[in-house]
């Protein structure tokens, strides 16, 4: 079992994506408690700003869990999310935060086992990344030497 300290945020689309999460409960398979799932109406509602926000707030990895190509309820078929996914990966790379911290997973409906396997692999991969290069989060320093906008 992976250590629970790798914080993973999963954006799951309401349809096939969420059905996988639902299936884990029905199949009585569990995934690590450090995996937090956010249910969204479609992955196309997720944009670069939100994904980056997750990293800003301390997520070690973000998984985008959506429908397989051709199965989108809204016929968007991942065009939008793939574009945003590529953007964020490039930004993570130049920020020095490693682009593999973001993955896009497209699964058939109700694949509970597959989801748990994917998420565990993802955590393992991030553990390796973190060991090689620990990105330390430090809080903002106290405000000092403001000449103009003080008081």
């Amino acid at each position: 079992m992976a250590t629970p300290y790798i914080e993973i945020l999963v954006f799951a689309c309401n349809w096939d994506g969420w059905s996988c999460i639902d299936a884990t409960a029905n199949l009585e398979v569990s995934y690590p408690a450090s995996v937090k799932v956010v249910r969204v109406s479609c992955l196309s509602r997720i944009h670069a700003g939100l994904i980056l926000k997750a990293f800003e707030f301390g997520a070690d990895g973000v998984m985008l869990l959506g429908c397989e190509p051709g199965r989108c309820l809204f016929n968007v078929n991942g065009e939008y999310i793939i574009n945003e996914y590529e953007k964020v990966r490039s930004i993570l790379k130049i920020l020095g935060m490693q682009q593999d911290r973001l993955v896009l997973v497209q699964l058939p409906a109700f694949s509970g086992y597959e989801f748990v396997m994917q998420v565990k692999n993802f955590i393992e991969k991030i553990e390796q990344l973190s060991a090689s290069k620990r990105v330390k989060i430090t809080g903002p320093e106290p405000v000092q030497d403001i000449a103009v906008l003080s008081q």
């Binding site: 939100l50 903002p140 403001i146 906008l149 008081q151």
Partner: protein, 381 residues
């Protein structure tokens, strides 16, 4: 509050309303009224609730240009925003808040950026130099706004090629941070200071004494805002157009030939803020074959690109952009030349989101990119 009121000269406001007459935002959004904001704060001596309209200001400095008593309204707005944030106001970020998030990650995380991928082999970087070229957010903007077809890094490459040509040695800083201007403008002083300190440490470690910048926003921030906020800041900052214009004047650099009709758009931070009006024009004038047509609003009166610090961008901004592009179109120029990456992004955004093709689709290019391209055919022959 009282010290800010006196620092920014707000008490001198005569209630004449010139600021409001020239304000490009007021023209399209009557709710936003600089005169009223100032007068209301003064009437209640700083105890008035802050109006929501403070987020509409695009910090173009047009009001300061006209104000007889030099009331620094944009500084004042910045403070009001800072106060509003402290009181729990929420900012409506544009682009999903991605630019701000990137800035916060840079500010509060110890990251080692990998941001020099774009550097072509023909550009020579000095191994050791106390002069640095500050690239700014160009690599991030190119990814974030790839849908708009922006290519900000071409302007940076052009600037570096020109510096190579003039034989000014410079180095690049692999882990430079964003200058933090957008955080400062939205009143996020803590975020701005974290970025400013990180930058100062980075420059200090490398013994940087001079900085050349391509982005006017970064130029003004490093030159004017950093010394105000950081006690130990002692780095001299010049804008690339100053360096190139000087080199042309002394005869160290001769630009090539390009047959084109262009118009120059003054970025607010370079023009009204930093008073650099002539240098970019002299660069353009020294390119043979270039015809420069001025827009109806130019120099001090130049209309803003409708910029915002990536927040509260809306129809008003789009209308300002549309008006500016129409002015550019009216000159009959083939290319709109600007010196600011953000102007490029904002104007291209207006062109892309245009409905019914009512926005002028003029080509937009960076001045350094254009100047460096004028040298290309010469080098081939």
């Amino acid at each position: 509050m009282q010290s800010v009121i006196s620092d920014t000269g707000v008490r001198l406001c005569l209630d004449c309303g010139k600021c409001t007459v020239v304000c490009p935002v007021t023209r399209y959004d009557a709710e936003f009224n600089p005169r009223r904001i100032v007068q209301e704060v003064l009437r209640l001596n700083g105890r008035s609730p802050v109006s929501d309209t403070i987020w509409s200001c695009i910090s173009c400095n047009m009001c300061i240009e006209r104000c007889n008593y030099n009331v620094r309204f944009t500084d004042f707005i910045r403070f009001l925003r800072h106060k509003a944030l402290e009181e729990g106001a929420e900012i409506k970020y544009s682009h999903g808040g991605a630019p701000q998030t990137i800035m916060h990650i840079m500010a509060h995380r110890e990251t080692r950026q990998d941001r020099l991928d774009w550097l072509p082999e023909d550009i020579k970087i000095a191994k050791q130099s106390n002069t640095a070229f500050f690239v700014g957010c160009a690599p991030y903007f190119d990814i974030l706004f790839s849908d708009l077809g922006v290519n900000i890094i071409e302007g940076t490459k052009g600037a570096l090629r020109l510096l190579n040509r003039v034989q000014i040695p410079f180095t690049l800083i692999p882990n430079e941070r964003c200058c933090g201007r957008d955080l400062l403008l939205t009143g996020d002083i803590d975020g701005f200071l974290a970025l400013a300190r990180a930058n100062m440490n980075e420059f200090g470690k490398r013994g940087i004494k001079n900085i050349i910048i391509g982005c006017p926003e970064g130029y003004y921030t490093l030159k004017v805002d950093y010394p105000k906020f950081l006690k130990d800041w002692d780095i001299s900052v010049v804008h690339i157009t100053e360096v190139i214009a000087q080199a042309i004047e002394t005869g160290e650099l001769t630009l090539g030939r390009l047959e084109q009709k262009v118009t120059y758009h003054d970025p607010c931070t370079l023009g009204r803020y930093s008073r650099i009006f002539d240098q970019p024009r002299s660069i353009l004038a020294s390119i043979e074959g270039i015809e420069v047509a001025e827009m109806s609003d130019n120099r001090e009166k130049s209309l803003c690109c409708g910029a915002s610090p990536w927040a509260h961008c809306g129809t008003v901004n789009a209308q300002i952009q549309k008006e500016r592009l129409a002015q550019a179109g009216a000159t009959g120029a083939d290319i709109l030349i600007t010196a600011c990456p953000k102007c490029q992004i904002h104007l291209k955004c207006a062109q892309k989101n245009a409905e019914n093709n009512d926005v002028c689709q003029i080509a937009i290019q960076d001045i350094c990119d254009l100047a460096a391209r004028s040298l290309l055919p010469q080098e081939v022959s």
